[in-house]
């Protein structure tokens, strides 16, 4: 059993498991932090951005000044943003039989894998994962394609040149492998390869292996996966949560008795308490609006935003914010809000009960009905007519490099009355803000990451007792900025096996037995002999049929269609017994 680790990002994993002659890819996350090295793409021509000076090398040479721009001491690539793909060279990806997706954030590299590597297999994911994943991809493609950028910088990627650049560009890994965003036809082609599955559905792969998604409690339709044969069990835990938000709670019991547990997707902000963060989010929002400022919330179009809207629904009246307009701007805003209401079966118990009444499970339906929340596909069109300040705007992308958020950063950045509140934990807020410096706007960091923290992990591991734990190397040591916090790492016995990008692990595992079926006719002909109290033996000589990795033992027939009796079988055809 081997594990090929194609991504170094602990929350955007991409691993390939080779197990019993099947090749299974576990997630294909897309590392988008690479985009932080690029200049934002404004929807409306921004004089500030276009006037940024070109970057000049220490020796005064200016050959890179078209590609690299400097802003407040940081250097950015002036080009269409690019993403860091999972490793594609470590093994031949056309040999991958299936891809298992655990949640919609972990499938963003799917088109790169299914459309560029000769992949011919099947992708398995739950329905909400596919639908919301499609929305995320649509938004991504849309926000990049609608700002055509003539320039595509590549000179800086030259190894010799990159060496001369300032950090973090100098240290960026595998820049030659960075790719531009895929297109909608590629997204559609990739998604058409997905087969929908439900929680606790047992899916046979070639008769050799069974895979089963389990509720992971992190997002709508998010799942952990069990990969097992009759004797071996591998659990793949990715992006799980024990907090009660909107999704169905995590299924922990089914993870028990694993031989190997692969653990990825823990919280990225282990020191922050999500509940506290939501409180801070609300109070900062209220304070800004009361002082006449606007609030900008860079966010993904699905996920935590549902919880934030629900909190605000309960909060706005008591905080006297009932007249403040809330805007949700995204090409998929409407779809996201609509889709959230139809996945009753994937929601927590409380929300399910509401659907039985029947009422929409999320209160944002009411916010929309009462006109408190309005959604628009973009800042163009209806929005510009309805736009009233002060207001609260939810929009993407959280990297602040593309999407409508760029426009609002440019628009509101100059006034200290306004506030930008970061809730998504995927990007460092300081890095995200760098190309907008100097900035007068207030910045509040309230990352809300509901995924497992280290205390919950050690409790979980004690509970489910896997024989071996495998995890990204980042989880086996304290975070680099808090090296004294030894509590912020995985603590289990035996210590976890760690992996890093482009590594191949051999999992400690030996298969001993396989299932075989004895046909009733053959079973009848067996003559067991009790040789010790409670232990019987029978010699078996029979025909072995193997089909679809299933083994069956049948009575042997001679050429005339007559059964060869056991007696004769053992005398004539049982040489091992006598030799």
């Amino acid at each position: 059993m081997k594990l090929y680790c194609l991504s170094g990002h602990p929350t955007l994993p991409c691993n390939v498991l080779k197990f019993k002659s099947t090749t299974i890819m576990l997630d294909c996350g897309l590392d988008m932090t690479s985009t932080l090295n690029f200049l934002p793409m404004p929807l409306v021509q921004s004089p500030r951005l276009s006037k940024l000076p070109g970057w000049v090398l220490k020796d005064g040479s200016t050959f890179l000044d078209k590609e690299l721009k400097e802003c407040s001491g940081h250097v950015f690539v002036d080009s269409v943003p690019e993403f860091c793909l999972p490793e594609t060279e470590l093994l031949d990806l056309s040999t991958v039989d299936v891809i298992l997706i655990s949640n919609y954030h972990c499938m963003m590299a799917l088109p790169y894998i299914t459309e560029y590597t000769g992949f011919t297999g099947t992708v398995y994911a739950t329905e909400p994962t596919v639908q919301i994943g499609r929305l995320l991809m649509e938004e991504l493609v849309n926000s990049i394609e609608r700002v055509p950028k003539a320039q595509s910088a590549s000179m800086w990627k030259n190894k010799e040149v990159q060496r001369l650049l300032p950090a973090p560009l100098k240290d960026a890994v595998e820049v030659s492998m960075w790719r531009k965003c895929y297109t909608m036809p590629e997204v559609n082609a990739a998604l058409s390869k997905i087969q929908l599955v439900g929680y606790s559905q047992k899916i046979e792969l070639f008769g050799a292996v069974q895979v089963t998604p389990l509720s992971s409690g992190y997002a709508l339709g998010s799942s952990n996966w069990i990969i097992q044969s009759h004797y071996e069990k591998v659990s793949y835990v990715s992006g799980s949560s024990l907090l009660t938000t909107h999704p169905q709670p995590m299924d922990q019991a089914s993870l028990k008795n694993s031989d190997v547990l692969i653990l990825t997707g823990l919280t990225q902000i282990p020191t922050a308490n999500p509940d506290g963060m939501v409180g801070e989010f609300c109070s900062n929002l209220a304070m800004t609006v009361r002082n006449g400022g606007n609030v900008l919330v860079p966010c993904y179009p699905s996920g935590v935003i549902y919880d934030l809207l629900e909190c605000l629904y309960q909060y706005i009246d008591s905080a006297g914010l009932s007249n403040v307009p809330f805007y949700f701007i995204s090409p998929v805003a409407n779809s996201s809000l609509e889709f959230s209401q139809i996945f009753a079966e994937w929601l927590c118990h409380n929300k399910q009960t509401k659907v039985y009444l029947p009422e929409p499970p999320f209160p944002h339906a009411e916010l929309i009905q009462t006109n408190k929340l309005k959604h628009y596909p973009s800042i163009h069109g209806d929005f510009s007519n309805d736009f009233k300040q002060p207001c609260v705007v939810f929009t993407g992308h959280p990297s602040l490099r593309f999407g409508d958020v760029v426009h609002f950063m440019e628009l509101w950045g100059k006034s200290s009355l306004n506030t930008v509140i970061f809730t998504e934990p995927d990007f460092s807020y300081l890095d995200a803000l760098a190309p907008y410096q100097p900035l007068a706007m207030k910045c509040v960091y309230c990352p809300i990451d509901t995924r497992l923290n280290f205390i919950q992990v050690s409790k979980l591991l004690k509970e489910v007792q896997p024989l071996h734990v495998v995890c990204p190397e980042q989880y086996t040591q304290p975070p680099p900025t808090q090296s004294h916090r030894t509590d912020l790492m995985i603590d289990c016995q035996p210590p976890p096996m760690s992996y890093r990008r482009a590594e191949v692990l051999t999992l400690p595992y030996k298969r001993r037995y396989e299932k075989i079926e004895i046909m009733p006719e053959l079973a009848d002909s067996l003559v067991p002999l009790e040789i010790k109290p409670g232990i019987s033996l029978a010699t078996v000589s029979a025909v072995l049929h193997t089909k679809d990795n299933k083994h069956v033992l049948q009575v042997r027939y001679n050429g005339k269609g007559r059964k060869i009796s056991l007696h004769r079988v053992s005398c004539h055809l049982g040489p091992q017994l006598f030799s």
């Binding site: 439900g198 606790s200 559905q201 047992k202 089963t212 409407n334 779809s335 609509e338 889709f339 209401q341 139809i342 996945f343 009753a344 079966e345 659907v355 039985y356 029947p358 929409p360 499970p361 298969r511 001993r512 037995y513 396989e514 299932k515 075989i516 079926e517 004895i518 046909m519 009733p520 079973a523 067996l526 067991p528 040789i531 010790k532 409670g534 232990i535 019987s536 033996l537 029978a538 010699t539 078996v540 000589s541 029979a542 025909v543 072995l544 193997t546 089909k547 083994h551 069956v552 033992l553 049948q554 042997r556 004539h572 055809l573 049982g574 040489p575 091992q576 017994l577 006598f578 030799s579």
Partner: protein
Amino acid sequence: MPEIKVTPLGAGQDVGRSCILVSIAGKNVMLDCGMHMGYNDDRRFPDFSYITQNGRLTDFLDCVIISHFHLDHCGALPYFSEMVGYDGPIYMTHPTKAICPILLEDYRKITVDKKGETNFFTSQMIKDCMKKVVAVHLHQTVQVDEELEIKAYYAGHVLGAAMFQIKVGCESVAYTGDYNMTPDRHLGAAWIDKCRPDLLITESTYATTIRDSKRCRERDFLKKVHETVERGGKVLIPVFALGRAQELCILLETFWERMNLKAPIYFSTGLTEKANHYYKLFITWTNQKIRKTFVQRNMFEFKHIKAFDRAFADNPGPMVVFATPGMLHAGQSLQIFRKWAGNEKNMVIMPGYCVQGTVGHKILSGQRKLEMEGRQILEVKMQVEYMSFSAHADAKGIMQLIRQAEPRNVLLVHGEAKKMEFLKQKIEQEFHVNCYMPANGETTTIFTNPSIPVDISLGLLKRETAIGLLPDAKKPKLMHGTLIMKDNSFRLVSPEQALKELGLAEHQLRFTCRVHIQDPRKEHETVLRVYNHLKGQVFPFFFYPPRNGLELIILR
């Protein structure tokens, strides 16, 4: 020999009161728990005393499965669980769990409030009963206990309708509930994988019917409604609040829009809007097309169809009214029917099956003078049309499902005996499997012959698959091993390993026989010749090369 026993308490050679007991590998499962629309006495509910005379049903049943929310499949549930007494798990899909209590409450109201019956289940009992329900996802494998597992498949009959597979070890039964093999305007087609159950229990409502294409039926329906409305007549369509109603509403709504018609369409009972709301929230259970477009346009938001008020029935001019219930046996549909029956300009369209004993069944079988309550005679002059819109599989569909699932035996329920007989023959002819059709209370026993799962050591398996002249994995191979039976575990290992594990000494038996050969050559040469000759044979001889030049030992 292991056996599966099936006893219908209802729906055996009959439609209505579906309730089937299945015993499989020591587990007892009850499939559906319905009421009979044709009876108002004890016969309306299944006779649960068959399961046990005294004592709680919980001790005798491992679980109850409800296939969909129609009352002939779930109407007896509160009576069964709260009045007779059952505390075990009841499984159904999410939409069924959501909608079923509403229909039960409706049923209770008609029976208790309108007909004044006592000794019937109460609202509280419905609530308590629903607390015992566990909702299942499609295709989810639910482990009822360590051995018994069930799995739901899409049935396409009504919103949330499901077929169930019940499995213990390698024995299994599949139960279809009601299903539909052709997608319609709001639901998809039933689907099951090649699960090869020992027994498939299928409904057979339309056992002898092969229906023409849906498009023709739809065109026919629209034409009839249109003609009646054009000549100023009123159209009554008795339906059940959920299911066919939504399909026909979508049909009329699009037709009205296209033809720009002005005649009002009404939907009786307050349930409508609520019902449509269920469809909106459970849109993932509808068909592909509706699911794809729901963000732009939700098909269940109707522009032309409005709520009905009792007073409207006397309004002059044309109108179309959907009214519940579907078999004209009670309630608003019957009231409207009585008002409109005397006018030959009007029309009643029965879009579904009617159980014997209902007014619907009577007028469909041609009766034009009906005796109503109080000896009143109602003369039916209005046109009576029947259109099979009920979403049951027809004969073709049933055969198709059998082909999909590849069962070893088939058992027919939920149909009329005569029609079943015909279908039974057809199934036995085409698939060469046994087909049964027990009456209510009659037990069918099916013998299964399960193979025995055994653990084989990987070493032995690999060795055996590697041997052979051709490296052809598909070709059957001979294998020799020793089966060790200890407690309840069965392990197949190589003879050497078995000996080693059990600390047994190896014995060798040697069979020899003397052969006289007349050969002028030297002794040594003769032996060598025989040896070389045998070496070339393909038979699996085990022999030792000549020793001492004197002796040749051949082991065979």
